[in-house]
Symmetry: C2
Subunit: 146 residues, 2 copies
DNA sequence: GCTTGACCTAAAGTCAGGTTTAGGTGATAT
DNA sequence: ATATCACCTAAACCTGACTTTAGGTCAAGC
C-alpha cells in the first residue's frame, strides 16, 4: 500500500495528475483510510495500463470505460479486446497518414534545397508535377494523395 | 480575387476558421477593400501550405513564423528549409513511437484472444515475458522499450 | 503550543485551436 | 422602405487534460 506521494515518485507524475485521474474514475477499486488514498498493486497496474492507453491516443473517458470493464471480470474480455482492436485500426490509419505527411516534408526539403542552389523558386516550380526526379515525384504524389 | 465565403466553400473550412487564421497572422499579404477581405492566389497558396503544415503537426504560431519568412523573399529559403527539416525529424520520431504503440496494441489483442479462449487470464499472464510465442514476444518487447 | 509536512477538497485557471454570440455595415431584391 | 444576405468586429464560450489556488485536517518534531 502506497501513498499518493510515493506513487507520484514511482511514476514521475505530479500528485495533481493522480488526483485528477482518480476523479475521472480511473482507479475504480481504490481504497481510502480516513480520507487518504491508498494505492495498491491494482492501482499500480491500472497506472501502467493508463500510460499505455494514453500513448496509443485514447481519451480519458475511453480509458475509464476500459477500467470499468476490468472491474466486471472475465465476461468483459471480448469488449476489452474490441477496444484494443478499434484503437489498432485507428493507429494504422494514423501511421499511414503520417507517412504521406513525411513524403510531403521530404518533398519540401528537396524543394528548398533546389531553391537555395538556384537562388529562386522559378526552376523548381516549373518542374511540378511532371519534370520532377523519379523519387521526388513519388513523394510529391504520395503527399498530395488523400 | 475571392470573398471569404467562396474560399470557405473551396476549402471546406468554416468562415470562422478563416477569420481566426487571419487574426493569427497566417495571411500576411492579404488585402481588404472597404473592410472586406480579398483572398487572392497568394492566400489560396498560403491555405494549401497551412493545411500541409497542420497535417504535419506544426502549431499555428510556427506556421505564422513560416508565413512571415515567405514574405521576406529568397534570403529566407534556408530558414524555411530548416523548419521542414526539423519537422521531418519530429515526425520520424513520432512514427517510430507509434510503431511501438502498435506493437503494444497487437500484444493486447493477442492477450485478450487467449484470455477469451481460456476463460481466464491465468495462463497468458504466466507466459509473460519469457514463454510468449516468438512474434508476440517481439511485439511485447518493442511495446515496453522506451 | 506551534510549526512543518503530507495529505485532502472544490473551484478556478491554462493552453490550443477553434466556434458562437451579439451587435453592426452595406448592397441587393421585393 | 424594408427585408435579406454576405460581410465585419470584439469578446465570450468550448473541449481535453491538466495545474493552480485557497482553504482545511491531522500527525510528528521542537
Amino acid at each position: 500500500m502506497y501513498t499518493i506521494g510515493q506513487i507520484s515518485e514511482m511514476f514521475g507524475l505530479p500528485i495533481s495528475t493522480l488526483r485528477y485521474y482518480d476523479k475521472q474514475g480511473l482507479f475504480p477499486k481504490m481504497k481510502r483510510v480516513s480520507g487518504i488514498r491508498k494505492f495498491s498493486d491494482d492501482e499500480i497496474e491500472a497506472l501502467r495500463v493508463i500510460e499505455c492507453l494514453k500513448k496509443s491516443g485514447l481519451e480519458i473517458k475511453d480509458i475509464k470505460q476500459f477500467m470499468d470493464l476490468c472491474v466486471k471480470g472475465a465476461s468483459t474480455y471480448p469488449a476489452r479486446k474490441a477496444i484494443f482492436e478499434k484503437q489498432r485500426e485507428n493507429l494504422l490509419a494514423e501511421i499511414a497518414r503520417l507517412n504521406n505527411v513525411l513524403d510531403m516534408l521530404n518533398f519540401k526539403c528537396w524543394y528548398y534545397e533546389q531553391a537555395i542552389c538556384d537562388g529562386s523558386e522559378d526552376r523548381v516550380q516549373s518542374m511540378i508535377p511532371d519534370k520532377l526526379p523519379r523519387d521526388i515525384k513519388i513523394a510529391y504524389e504520395n503527399a498530395h494523395r488523400d
